[in-house]
Symmetry: C2
Subunit: 203 residues, 2 copies
């Protein structure tokens, strides 16, 4: 024990878990690409883990070590597809991005979130079997809505209020009737604006 050189953490270990080995990172990317491609081509429902592994040229065990479960893999694919929207929300042009006042941002948020939900409906369902919803996607939306509500001077249990506000934006998941083919989606959005007005106590 005379040589203290066996201690790896010379720096305070800022980044939490140790970094990924190079082969691991490479495989993660291969897998994500393969999965995305397969999902696009066949729809999420039809994609099997074996197929993803094969397409990525990797063993099945590797898929599960990286993504834990089928649900985890789908969540990763989803997150990846939603980064663009998230970027728009965080730093895109107003009214969705910063610059507009909070109410207008909220409305833009609702509209675009509703559209995105419809667009990714199948993938969301696959990524979120058994509503654990700890996945990045939901967390992002919740955080942002809480922020906007605060900006609007809303006080109270923000978790409850944000949950209430977000739920109807997921209606397309339950009711396949609600699609982009106009009619019902506009109706939902209209109702949602009313709801937002009530929750923020607008006259």
């Amino acid at each position: 024990m005379s040589h203290p050189s066996t201690e790896p953490p010379l720096l305070p270990l800022l980044g939490g878990p140790p970094p990924e080995r190079r082969d691991a990172a490479r495989n993660r990317e291969r897998l994500l690409d393969a999965a995305t491609a397969l999902v696009e081509r066949c729809g999420p429902r039809a994609v099997t883990m074996d197929a993803v592994a094969a397409a990525a040229g990797v063993g099945k065990g590797t898929v599960f070590r990286r993504f834990r479960s089928r649900e985890g893999l789908m969540a990763a694919v989803l997150d990846h597809s939603e980064t663009e929207w998230q970027a728009h929300v965080l730093s895109g042009p107003p009214p969705l991005g910063p610059g507009a006042d909070a109410w207008d941002r909220l409305l833009a948020f609702g509209r675009t979130r509703l559209e995105t939900t419809i667009l990714h409906a199948e993938l969301i369902r696959e990524a979120d079997r058994s509503g654990a919803r700890s996945g990045g996607a939901q967390a992002f939306a919740t955080t942002h809505v809480r922020y906007l509500l605060t900006q609007l001077g809303v006080t109270g249990n923000l978790t409850v209020l944000a949950t209430a506000l977000l739920a109807p934006l997921e209606l397309p998941l339950r009711d396949p009737q609600v699609s982009l083919d106009r009619f019902p989606v506009d109706r939902v959005y209209e109702g949602w604006v009313d709801l937002a007005g009530r929750i923020t106590r607008r006259p």
Copy 2:
């Protein structure tokens, strides 16, 4: 074609689908009982379809003919466990049942629904993998909330408003932190009352 006696429907076939054969009904009950018992003993997560079939003394195919899927079976068990609560809502004593004014009924609804959700959390998760939620349980809650909102003179898109109102009552499903061990559940209920006030535009 001279004998028209081959036509079964002498009466206009009021009851929709034809009634169940006696053996089928018997097996449905056996299966429901067996499933309920197993769920109670081992928790829903651990109950396999083979086990239910065996415990009911029935072939596996029969389980699937009756309940379509594992999810369907769990939904049936859940429905059965929730009948008592539903009866209270429909015809029990006030303020949950009829007799009290709509606002008080709504509050009682929220309280008891929250408690019931916590009580049946695991079962609900198993019964509702991939939020189809066409199951009786959710439909009942939605219908009742819409009714109460109407009584309170709320106008607008009631589907959207009811969805918003019901969502936070399912928070325990997402956050295992929220349990009956007092603190957080009271906090959620408090927040929900505030939400209900906002949605019905109470001062």
